[in-house]
């Protein structure tokens, strides 16, 4: 049955291909430039640090509803398992708190339980995504242990731009994007609005009978809850003189996750929703010096506040009218209670200087102040953290012969933290270029992650078929890692193959560990009577090792296909307080085999009309968990089509498709782990209307990078 579908779809694509009038179309031929691996610009194929790129063209074809949607569909080393608390992203086996997400090189702010809110990123405004796997703390500091995802946003340089995009899909899915850009002489402004909404869905109404008193088949717990979020952002840029660009930007963001409430007090009764308020302000500038040299300064402030939005009368910890602590402070429907307000102020000074033909220096300083207010979740109600850092990196390039060139990038970061003092973090990457076609790369790098104020000072109670008490631990050490990788890349006539083997050896990983109730403060045990108490602790070690393979083939101007595969094995040793020894444990959510593949076809029938289609697939083998069952393996296919009409200054684009064509749904009982939370087959359609007047400023290419652009990924 499945094969019939695929054959039919392929037939459809080929017939379109055959019958269409061939029009030679001048495609953009901008070489793919990457910045994430070294913080300096490189052609993708010449990047000293292996970088995976999801190009604008691929993004456009995929028509993703969210960042999560597109990362899940287009890379094999990332996986998600969206739930109440966030997207549960993993990169090569390590969770979101070990993945550094950057937006235009700046770290995203705000998490709940280590989960970044990916709704802060408007999928329609992404130009490309660069993924660098492995530790990058020498360049980026804390958190860059599993890897770095750098979201490069679109830069709007039109004289006047007005754009509206509306996407609707199954399960009440609505995505709205509006952008207005104006450029007046030296000043330009871009205003962006985005809205994301889903009604959520429920894959099963049956609760795991082992966790409930009796069989419940009409639970209200959803697989993914309904949510709405919106964001307005504004960016002003000013170029007072040539080579100097100043900017100021700000955004405000709101999100609510709606939690349905059922009738089983022990299982599905909820008395509050979750609400998030995020604000950001930043300013800075770049002063371009000779060649690729520049100095930049960025100062930014971010706030991420997390609230309970009560939907029923709820008694919780607070202070009575006399100012005494009480476990019975009442909240009423529509009241809100602040859970945590994370505020971050950062300043970054960076300079890139080409010292000679063989040396390029990237150096900088970073200052960071974190403030956490969490009245009822942190002992004392607030916590602060101060970090400053200096880093220096040299890219050394030598041509060893006509066909062989070597590049070594060495970086070192000195970090100073209030709590943990100084630490040095090195990184060394080497690349050997054998002719135009072959690149060999090797990396050794260290990563670190400082314990968050929450992990140090936490005190939280959760009810899920019994009371669970979560505690911070002031004895925590920073988590550190050593990452080793060896890879090869082959490029020829549109074919690109990369194979990378890696070992990521993480020490002192912090995770919640069940401890005997007797180890917890007795007052909490008496007050909450927890079924289990969990405390943040440093895992002695966790190793992830694997191989990532990627093949991309641009068959001709119209056809392109790609395949990526990740093999992963984990070997984690956790200190078991019950047995006071190290035990082998599984890193939750990891799968041995994951893959994704695609084939896309795009054609211009005239200068005014073009269309495209893409068939995508992704799979995962069984996902392992310590408790509550393993997640089933899955395979999901997606078909995406698009039509674009251009008439003078207007562009009309329609995208439509079917996700999860074969309607795969994991209906494992609620309370147990799912391989994927997909709701089954969904359809979607997007209409984008764009008005653009004035010259679009093309990529200001530098001769240095144009020398070798023929076979690169094109945009």
């Amino acid at each position: 049955m499945k094969y019939k579908w695929i054959t039919a779809l392929a037939g459809l694509l080929f017939s379109l291909h055959a019958s269409a009038q061939v029009v030679n179309e001048m495609q953009d031929s901008i070489p793919e430039i990457v910045v994430t691996g070294t913080g300096t610009q490189h052609l993708l194929k010449d990047a000293p640090v292996q970088t995976e790129v999801i190009s604008g063209r691929i993004l456009k074809n995929y028509s993703a509803k969210s960042l999560q949607d597109l990362l899940m569909g287009l890379t094999s080393s990332l996986d998600f398992n969206e739930d109440d608390m966030g997207s549960q992203m993993q990169m090569n086996g390590l969770g979101n708190s070990y993945i550094l997400i950057l937006i235009d090189g700046k770290r995203i702010h705000g998490d709940v339980g280590g989960q970044n809110d990916l709704g802060l990123i408007d999928p329609h405004n992404i130009d490309r995504i660069e993924i660098v796997k492995g530790a990058s703390s020498a360049l980026y500091g804390s958190d860059a242990i599993a890897g770095v995802i750098n979201i490069i946003t679109k830069k709007h340089d039109e004289g006047l731009l007005a754009e509206n995009s509306t996407r609707v899909g199954s399960h009440g899915d609505i995505r709205q994007h509006n952008g207005i850009g104006i450029r007046l002489g030296k000043v330009s402004s871009y205003t962006n609005f985005q809205l994301q909404h889903t009604d959520g869905w429920q894959n099963t109404a049956t609760e795991d009978p082992h966790q409930t008193e009796f069989l419940i088949t009409d639970s209200r717990n959803k697989t993914v809850n309904r949510y709405t979020n919106w964001q307005i952002s504004e960016r002003l840029t000013y170029e007072p003189v040539k080579n100097l660009e100043l900017y100021a930007e700000g955004s405000t963001y709101w999100k609510r996750i709606y939690r349905p409430s059922g009738k089983y007090a022990a299982v599905d009764v909820k008395t509050y929703d979750m609400e998030y308020h995020n604000r950001s302000l930043s300013a800075g500038g770049t002063w371009k010096l000779d060649g690729t040299d520049f100095i930049s300064l960025d100062v930014d402030w971010n706030k991420h506040a997390y609230y309970y939005y009560f939907t029923a009368i709820t008694l919780t910890d607070g202070y009575d009218p006399q100012g005494n602590f009480t476990p019975y402070y009442p909240y009423f429907p529509d009241d809100m209670e602040l859970q945590s307000d994370q505020q971050r102020t950062m300043a970054n000074l960076k300079g890139v200087f080409e010292l000679s033909e063989h040396h390029r220096l990237n150096t900088g300083a970073e200052w960071r102040y974190d403030y956490l207010e969490a009245p009822m979740r942190v002992v004392g109600g607030e916590a602060k953290d101060h970090t400053s850092a200096l880093y220096v990196q040299d890219e050394i390039s030598y041509r060893l012969s006509d066909k062989v060139a070597a590049n070594v990038t060495a970086g070192l970061r000195l970090n100073h933290n209030d709590q943990f003092g100084n630490c040095l973090t090195p990184k060394v990457s080497g690349m050997l270029s054998l002719g135009d076609d072959i690149r060999l790369r090797a990396t050794w790098s260290q990563g670190f992650k400082t314990p968050t104020p929450k992990e140090l000072q936490y005190r939280y109670v959760r009810y899920m078929n019994g009371t669970y008490l979560y505690l911070g631990n002031t004895e925590l050490n920073p988590q550190t890692s050593n990452y080793y990788s060896l890879g090869g890349e082959y490029n020829r006539k549109g074919l690109n193959i990369t194979v990378t083997g890696y070992l990521n050896d993480v020490d002192h990983m912090i995770t919640l560990v069940t401890i005997p109730n007797s180890k917890a403060p007795a007052e909490y045990i008496a007050k909450y009577d927890p079924v289990k108490t969990r405390q943040y602790q440093n895992l002695e070690s966790a190793k992830t090792k694997g191989v990532d393979v990627s093949v991309r083939y641009r068959i001709n101007r119209e056809w392109m296909a790609g395949l990526s595969y990740s093999y992963l094995d984990t070997d984690a040793k956790q200190y078991d307080t019950t047995h006071e020894k190290l035990v082998d444990v599984i890193i939750d959510g990891t799968a041995h085999h994951k893959g994704s593949w695609f084939a896309t076809w795009n054609r211009s029938f005239s200068s005014k009309y073009q269309m495209g289609a893409g068939l995508y697939g992704r799979m995962s083998s069984k996902r392992y968990y310590q408790i509550n069952g393993n997640g089933k393996g899955y395979q999901i296919w997606r078909l995406s089509t698009n039509h674009e009409l251009t008439a003078k200054k207007m562009t009309y684009r329609i995208e439509a498709g079917v996700d999860n064509i074969f309607d795969y749904v994991d209906r494992t009982y609620h309370g147990l782990h799912l391989g994927t939370t997909t709701p089954g087959r969904t359809i979607y359609a997007t209409l984008t209307i764009k008005f653009a007047q004035g010259k679009k400023l093309k990529f200001k290419s530098n001769n240095k990078y144009n020398s070798n652009s023929n076979d690169n990924e094109q945009d």
Binding site: Y264, A265, V269, P330, F332, S518, A522, Y528, E580
Partner: protein
């Protein structure tokens, strides 16, 4: 609506102010301060807007009590709380039994766990068939009992705890705070007149309660004890909270039960030195190396602990090394069922006796007897002691 009224009166006050300030005449009209006071009085009288969530919630509880008040005397049963249906049913049965026994009393039930209170209320889903169970926290019930329009003449607080430990101490403190008008929001005259009584926990008295409960348990389970071990699982206080040495009641109960049969054992979840591992050691010391082990919660209701800690499937058994106890001698992450099964006994779902003590009429009667004793006894002096023993 209230806001509009308030606004309107405010506006009126402002207009009045404007009028009077514009009249310089030395006339006979009342002073502006007088009128403002009158306006505020009027507002306060007609629009009693609670100034905080605390007061608003208290008003809800008071309103609820007012609507249910049928007698001059009230009994408040106080339990930790649970969200299990079996526990709800057990509490319902207990309330009915109390109503039948104490016909001239209104009977209410209080939870001391905020999370259980929130989830039991589930009010918004009443339309779906969810039962609204307002098991308010003790301080709100007591304040409602003292509110104008309610004012019970006699209040009996009956602890549904098993041992006089930490939770029971909290119950005493609630009564003491109430009696002492700690928050200063109650009528002192009423407090000086109201008769306050406290019913003690199930195993309050080592000399009387322990043998009485042992006798009734043996009546219920003597046939079962002939077939194998009957291991009761109490809660117990963590070591640092062994208030008034209450944990010893479990040991005393085991001794009293063993007068009837050596097959009775009493262990706990939290009492140092009396975990399931210690129960096993005592069984083995008595020569019981195999056979059936029946498990029974020794808690007022059969909820999380009974279903998970006692009868759950959690099992930390290692095929090579077996169990490893922690430094306190307990095997964590393992239910009683799995533990005794691994230790070579016949212990499975069929030997789990899923009953809370409130579900056993003869044991429930011991609590009821305590309530009778409290009612018949002298009012206790809460003003001077936190422990009115």
């Amino acid at each position: 609506m209230n806001k509009i009224k308030y606004l309107f009166l405010g506006l009126l006050a402002m207009c009045t102010t404007a009028v009077f300030t514009s009249c310089d005449d030395d006339d006979q009209e009342p002073s502006i301060q007088y009128i403002e006071k009158e306006v505020i009085k009027e507002v306060e009288k007609e629009v009693p807007v609670p100034s905080s969530n605390w007061e608003r919630y208290q008003e809800l509880v008071t309103k609820d009590v007012k609507s249910k008040k049928q007698h001059d005397k009230a009994i408040l049963l106080v339990a930790f709380g649970s969200t299990w249906q079996q526990a709800f049913d057990a509490f319902d049965t207990a309330i009915e039994a109390y109503k039948a026994e104490f016909k001239d009393y209104d009977v209410f039930l209080s939870y001391s766990s905020a999370i259980c209170i929130n989830r039991a209320a589930a009010g918004e889903n009443a339309a779906d068939g969810a039962e609204i169970r307002n098991y308010y926290a003790p301080p709100f019930w007591l304040n409602a009992f003292a509110a104008e329009g309610v004012r019970y003449k006699e209040i009996v607080v009956q602890s549904l705890q098993v041992i006089p430990g930490e939770e029971y101490t909290r119950v005493i403190n609630y009564i003491k705070d109430f009696a002492n008008n700690s928050n200063g929001d109650l009528d002192d005259k009423y407090l000086s007149e109201v008769v306050l009584k406290l019913g003690v926990p199930l195993l309050q008295d080592a000399e009387e309660d322990v043998p009485a409960v042992a006798k009734e348990l043996n009546e219920l389970y003597k046939d079962v004890a002939k077939e194998g071990v009957v291991a009761f699982m109490g809660h117990g206080n963590p070591d640092s909270y062994d208030t008034y040495k209450a944990n010893v009641r479990y040991t005393q109960l085991e001794e009293a039960l063993q007068v009837y049969s050596k097959n009775y054992y009493v262990g706990t979840v939290d009492m140092m030195g009396n975990f399931k591992t210690h129960v096993l050691a005592r069984m083995q010391a008595n020569g019981i190396k195999n056979g059936k082990v029946y498990c029974h919660p020794l808690m007022s209701i059969d909820g999380d602990h009974g279903h998970n800690d006692m009868a759950g499937d959690d099992d930390a058994w290692d095929e090579k090394e077996g169990y490893e106890a922690n430094e306190e001698g307990e095997v964590e992450d393992t239910s009683w069922k799995m533990y005794f099964y691994r230790m070579g006994y016949t212990c499975n779902d069929d030997t789990m006796i899923e009953k809370g003590l409130l579900e056993l009429p003869t044991i429930r009667q011991v609590w009821i007897n305590h309530t009778h004793a409290a009612i018949d006894g002298e009012p206790l002096d809460y003003y001077h002691s936190k422990n009115p023993e």
